[in-house]
Amino acid sequence: MNATFAVVAKDLRLAWRDRAGWLTAGAFATISILIYSFAFDLATNDVRPLLPGVLWTTFLFAGVFAAGAGFQREAEEGTFDAMLLSPVSPTVIFLGKLISSLIALIAIEFALLIAATILFDEPLLTPELVAIVMLGTAGYASLTTLLGTLGSGPRTRAVLLPVMALPLLVPMLIAAVRATGGSLGIFGGDAPWTLLLAVFALWSTLTAIILFPLAVER
């Protein structure tokens, strides 16, 4: 447990020192929200039905982007290999990385929710919606962390990560958009989307925890 927190603390410290990576992800997400906001405003007067899709595509792109950028430095400096050589189990390292990226991602997402509340004039910080955002983030962060920490090289990682991660995240995207829409009262539907989101989050976290040690074994 201590080792997990040590990894979390190390990752957050690195994220703080190397602010550029995370700030770029945040800036990218903010720009996306802005671009969506006025591009759709030109096309239609009622942008409200588009909001769940806008939110989740932005979250996903920012998340995948951050997963790639976050490990770039570590891979270049050989930190990751050094950690694997240390006498802690790979599972602990993975959990630490997952928790630290969850903290950073949720911070970015909250900033985005506030921005979207202003731009789309829609109260987004409701408990239900926050729960949906947390569940969805847990679902995608475990897979992007798994795929981001591995990878054959820094050059290929940046390009391949979105191509590899996004198809796997289609179910999560559909469930998250539907659940968000339901929570905002935009489109209903009787399917238990939040449940699917929760099951996906559980499944992806467990799978990533089990497969990570097998993948990094040398």
Partner: protein
């Protein structure tokens, strides 16, 4: 075991003529022997390639899944060759299923493409395994670390299938429900017979292509090993 090895040794003697005969029987069956469907007309004959292609896709991706587990478990690069071979053939048959499906969909549904449950899940599968091939292609064929990484991706991708199917099925559905793979098939006997022959033919073709691709990947790995050995010899 010995018999199995002997049969495997004869794969290049047995598979090509068997596949050839199967494909020929499939073509004759689908174009000439099978009755014309009353409502849809001749375009329904696409079924005899569409449905077996989709099944061959699942066969190939199943092989990728098993071979990927073996890569992680046995640390044997031969399984990586099997996984890559099966993945490329699976992607090919997925493309087949998607293209024939679109051609069939246009006259019957009025559109080439719809975000329907089964179409969407098949397309997502296509993207997942295309990404797998891409990830494996940018790395060295003999790179064990990259092989393990790709194996992890293939396993996650395969386990993701139920979620993909579930989410898109709740989302919307237009594609007809299965009519063959149930206890009382709803297809007339003559059509069912032709479909059986076509499935056998396509499976033989898929098997042949998978073995061919696997052997090619294996030869590529051995070539790299030989090159490395020659380099070491020259340096010494």
């Amino acid at each position: 075991m010995r018999t199995a090895n002997r049969v495997y040794g004869l794969r290049w003697v047995l598979l090509p003529p068997l596949t050839g005969m199967g494909i020929l029987a499939m073509l004759v069956g689908a174009v000439v022997a099978a009755p014309t469907e009353l409502v849809e007309g001749d375009v329904q004959r696409l079924m005899y390639i569409h449905v077996p292609s989709a099944q061959a896709m699942y066969l190939a991706f199943g092989i990728v899944f098993v071979a990927s587990i073996m890569v992680l478990w046995k640390r044997d690069m031969r399984w990586d060759a099997v996984a890559r071979g099966a993945a490329s053939v699976g992607v090919l048959f997925t493309a087949f299923a998607l293209v024939t499906g679109s051609l069939w969909g246009k006259p019957i549904w009025g559109v080439y493409w719809q975000w329907d449950a089964r179409l969407t899940s098949t397309l997502v599968l296509f993207l997942v395994y295309a990404a797998y091939l891409l990830a494996r292609a940018v790395s060295d064929p003999g790179d064990e670390q990259a092989a393990r990484y790709s194996a992890v991706y293939a396993i996650v991708g395969f386990l993701d299938v139920p979620f993909i199917v579930m989410s898109v099925r709740w989302w919307r559905t237009l594609h007809p429900q299965p009519i063959v793979s149930r206890l009382d098939p709803q297809l007339p006997g003559s059509m069912l017979a032709v479909l059986g022959i076509s499935t056998l033919a396509i499976f033989l073709l898929a098997l042949w292509l998978i073995l061919l691709r696997t052997d090619t990947e294996r030869l590529g790995q051995r070539l790299l090993g030989l090159r490395a050995a020659v380099d070491r010899r020259e340096e010494a």
